[in-house]
Subunit: 127 residues, 2 copies
Amino acid sequence: MTRMTRQRAAVAEALDQQDEFRSAQQLHEVLRARGDSVGLATVYRTLQTFADAHEVDQLRNADGEVLYRRCERVEHHHHLVCRSCRRTIEIDGPTVEAWAAKVGAAHDFTDIDHTIELWGICKDCRG
Amino acid sequence: MTRMTRQRAAVAEALDQQDEFRSAQQLHEVLRARGDSVGLATVYRTLQTFADAHEVDQLRNADGEVLYRRCERVEHHHHLVCRSCRRTIEIDGPTVEAWAAKVGAAHDFTDIDHTIELWGICKDCRG
DNA sequence: CGATTCATGAGAACGATTCTCACGCTTGAT
DNA sequence: ATCAAGCGTGAGAATCGTTCTCATGAATCG
């Protein structure tokens, strides 16, 4: 059973205030700046817990760093993220979903999981 | 200009002998076992160089480790990888390619790049 | 109000990858 | 071939994100 603690509430709140994907360290810094100090290890653990519960989305940037974000839609979806400012657009992809399932089945693979993320430069960062 | 060295030839050859995606450390071990010893740092550098030149494909597993593989097809493609044995099927995805480009354009993002990999369990590993 | 047990935090530990830098080898010109 | 120029190499140190340890703190349940 998961317990409700000040730290978890703080991490959840900090996440809600973010529009873009953030790393554990960035969130830790946000919390520190707000005065809601939470240990770094706890931030990592909490984010992992949230991710396992599908309460936050997680992805890796090109450097392999894990980023977290509380998305609008709960249903499975993908992201179009600006490489520069990390502005994120949530996209749902019935098309690719079906494609992924079909490809998996065609090659007799089961438990298909997919990593589908789009990166680009958004309008504002292009200037 | 890139020079041809014993080490690079050895890494290239070791790569060619692999059917599945391998990490830099695994390849380093393969080289050591073959007697073609190459420094670990060099293996990393060489693989990076090959990847930059699009001579090998690279992707990250769930743990964030980077894996390399010399694929059959040179043209852009994606992979369906067995989570257990890493058996890899190369798939080309005009469907998703078009989808990715369309989504990017629709949201006014440029320099679209995408990460599209499929993971599953292959027939043999299902036993 | 306990007792139980999960949660926390500081710092150590980890693990993949990169960096440093002195030395060696490939290369292109001679 | 010979040689100078400079990229490539290797061993180990350094990085850096992330996880682990373990003693202490605090939800939760009866």
